[in-house]
């Protein structure tokens, strides 16, 4: 029977499937960070359990780490405690750690692919919902809770019920100024934040094939924002070219053998999915969110919905509540709305191409007066490569802050945050109430839209500055 990419990987990793029980699924790669792991290691100690395969777990620190300088002196006491505990846990349990000053350290979902740890056909988990990022390589990658982190440390396995499959097909090709971020925001707006619940998404179609690896990661990263367990893209020559020569990628004969295996990792012709959704990539425009979940968004020139036109009373009330929190008027487009902060970074859009795209737009321009722009590379590697290309200078000259790698203002755990009432255009993944700081208000958008809005001092269609769309008054 023809199989989907998901089914091939799932079937190859089922250790055991007893009746009336979830499958025991083998985990190839486990990624760990400081915030969701301490209680898991405590659990191992209490039970006297060792780590089963410490060489298959890799740790980094990213959520609470400072971006101003890489030093404990820039951290609060609680953050320092989490860092110290991760250091001790990795030492005691034999796990490789990218420590605070390790040049390779960075956001867990940026480091894994960059190091070549993330490979096609793998099962990959991490105590972090954006683990779906790694699906860009044709891996089955999903976020887990801390109890499950302990399960993987102890048994290299997880108990999992088999998810359903959803194919998301992007026909055509993206227009200029429209990016992978806009593709995923458009999908989430279409199917809602619960639209993918219980499913693993496979992204297919010419627009997906045309994306580079970093853009595929952006696409898969926000699958969780549609409620999906995971997102994935079948590996191809683009994937293999990205992987070749990475520190943990196979070499020599092993590389050739891996390629042979990886080339089989696509859905068979005629394989069936539980659901299929098609979108026209050519019709997509730059997207932005106006609300307090990632589905509350639309094309940047489209008016914000009007609660009075919502027939369902619950939805009307929810929209009213959202617009109250966001302090936005219905019926008007978000374009033109003033912006206080612009955040460029995160596991969604903190990779080199994201920084390049924003820098290209900012070159020779200035961040508008009164706007604070923060550029936070996804890893130490991204930061060094950007500096080698002079991108840091472009950002500095434009008036933006150039920081060290970390999750930073995406979830505001490290002191990088919005003040109450501030509006941010953010390249991150969540616009939940107070996510980027208590009382803060987030508009999610692409790096291009973020950079353009920083220059304009207000939300703006980046194509205006790229010269693709005539300026409208």
């Amino acid at each position: 029977m023809p199989k989907t990419l998901f089914e091939k990987i799932w079937d190859a990793h089922v250790v055991l499937q007893e009746p009336d029980s979830p499958a025991v699924l083998y985990i190839d790669l486990h990624l760990v960070h400081e915030v969701t792991s301490p209680q898991a290691f405590n659990g191992l100690r209490e039970k006297g359990l060792p780590t089963r395969r410490p060489e298959q777990t890799v740790a980094t620190m990213d959520h609470v780490t400072p971006t101003i300088e890489l030093s404990l002196a820039a951290m609060d006491e609680q953050g320092i405690k989490q860092i110290r505990q991760l250091q001790a846990n990795c030492r005691d349990f034999g796990i490789h750690l990218y420590d605070l000053n390790d040049p390779q350290r960075g956001i867990v979902h940026v480091v894994g692919p960059e190091q070549g740890l993330t490979q096609p056909g793998m099962t990959i988990v991490c105590g972090d919902s954006h683990t779906s990022t790694h699906g860009a390589f044709g891996a089955l990658a999903f976020g887990i809770g801390t109890s499950e982190v302990e399960h993987v440390l102890a048994t290299q396995s997880l108990l999992q019920n088999r998810p359903k499959t959803m194919r998301v097909h992007f026909e055509g090709q993206l227009g200029a100024g429209v990016t992978a971020k806009d593709m995923i925001l458009a999908l989430i707006a279409e199917i809602g934040v619960g639209g993918g619940t219980g499913h693993v998404i496979e992204f297919t179609g010419p627009a997906v094939r045309a994306l580079d690896m970093e853009s595929r990661m952006t696409l898969c990263n926000m699958s969780i924002e549609a409620g999906a367990r995971a997102g994935m893209v079948a590996p191809d020559e683009t994937t293999f070219a990205y992987l070749r020569g990475r520190p943990s990628a196979p070499v020599g004969e092993a590389w050739e053998e891996s390629l042979d295996r990886w080339r089989n990792l696509s859905s068979d012709p005629g394989a069936s999915y539980d659901q299929t959704i098609s979108l026209d990539a050519a019709a997509l425009e730059p997207m932005i969110t106006y609300g307090t979940n990632p589905a509350m968004g639309g094309p940047i020139r489209q008016p914000i919905p009007t609660p009075a036109r919502e027939s369902d009373p619950d939805r009307r009330a929810a929209l009213e509540k959202t617009l109250r929190y966001m302090d936005l008027a219905p019926g008007k487009p978000l374009q033109g709305h003033p912006v206080d902060v612009v955040f460029l970074g995160s596991c969604t859009n903190g990779r080199l191409n994201d920084l390049r795209a924003a820098a290209d737009l900012l070159r020779g321009r200035k961040v508008a007066e009164g706007v604070r722009m923060l550029v936070v590379p996804g890893s130490g590697n991204v930061r060094r490569k950007a500096e080698a290309e002079g991108l840091d200078e472009v950002f500095r000259q434009a008036g933006a802050g150039w920081r060290h790698a970390g999750c930073s203002m995406c979830l505001a755990m490290n002191g990088d945050q919005l003040s109450p009432g501030q509006y941010a255009v953010s390249t991150s993944n969540r616009n939940f109430e107070s996510r980027q700081g208590p009382g803060g208000r987030t508009f999610l958008a692409s790096p291009l839209t973020a950079a353009a809005s920083a220059v304009a001092g207000k939300v703006i269609d980046p194509r205006v500055m790229c010269g693709d769309v005539k300026r409208e008054e």
């Binding site: 919902s129 109890s147 399960h151 619940t197 619950d314």
Partner: protein, 195 residues
């Protein structure tokens, strides 16, 4: 983990859809290395006023719900971040079951591992319960895990789904890790066949 069999309790209405785990417990409360004390941050953005005092309008702060152990929410409860701090905070406050029309996957799995029962109710039962709570805020609901039913005061009974494995674990208070450890030989054999 304490076994879960039946539970009769008032129901705290939190009738919103898509309550994300950042609302259940904001990230600034996650800088901990154990599971204790997280109830302080439960729904922090809604539980407290700007000056830090408890918000008297927030259902969890109302006296009739001081001892309540059941929460009623809308669709897609627990979406967003995978933080298990969310069920830890709910359980720490005293919640033992959540009734909702749907749950986000990771939250659902995390809840089950902490003796917190996610009860998926149909929209009709949900609407009926919400309306009943509107006129009688202190009404009690009975959850029967062995029978997999929720019983409203007017006698209405609704069945809810739960996979047999999770049900057994909850009923007997078993940690799922025990099951995996029991299959160490199969895991080792699988690893052997991979190499």
């Amino acid at each position: 983990m304490n076994p879960f069999k039946t539970l009769t309790s008032p129901v705290i209405p939190l009738l919103r859809d898509d309550i994300d785990t950042d609302q259940i417990i904001p990230a600034r409360y996650l800088k901990v290395t154990d599971k204790a004390g997280l109830a302080e941050g439960l729904f922090a953005g809604w539980q407290y006023l700007d000056d830090g005092d408890p918000n008297p309008d927030f259902p969890l702060n109302q006296p009739q719900y001081a001892e309540a152990q059941i929460l009623l929410a809308g669709d897609n409860f627990g979406c967003g971040s995978s933080r298990e701090h969310a069920p830890w905070a709910l359980a720490g406050w005293g919640i033992r079951a959540i009734l909702a029309t749907s749950f986000a996957d990771i939250f659902y799995n995390n809840a089950l591992k902490n003796g917190l029962l996610p009860v998926t109710v149909d929209t009709e039962t949900h609407a009926k319960l919400a309306a009943a709570l509107d006129s009688a805020p202190s009404l009690e609901v009975r959850i029967d895990l062995p029978a997999q039913t929720v019983k409203l005061p007017d006698g209405t009974e609704a069945a809810f789904p739960l996979d047999p494995f999770s049900k057994t674990c909850l009923l007997e208070g078993i940690d799922q890790l025990g099951y995996l450890l029991k299959h160490e030989a199969e895991i080792a054999a699988f690893e052997g066949s991979e190499e």
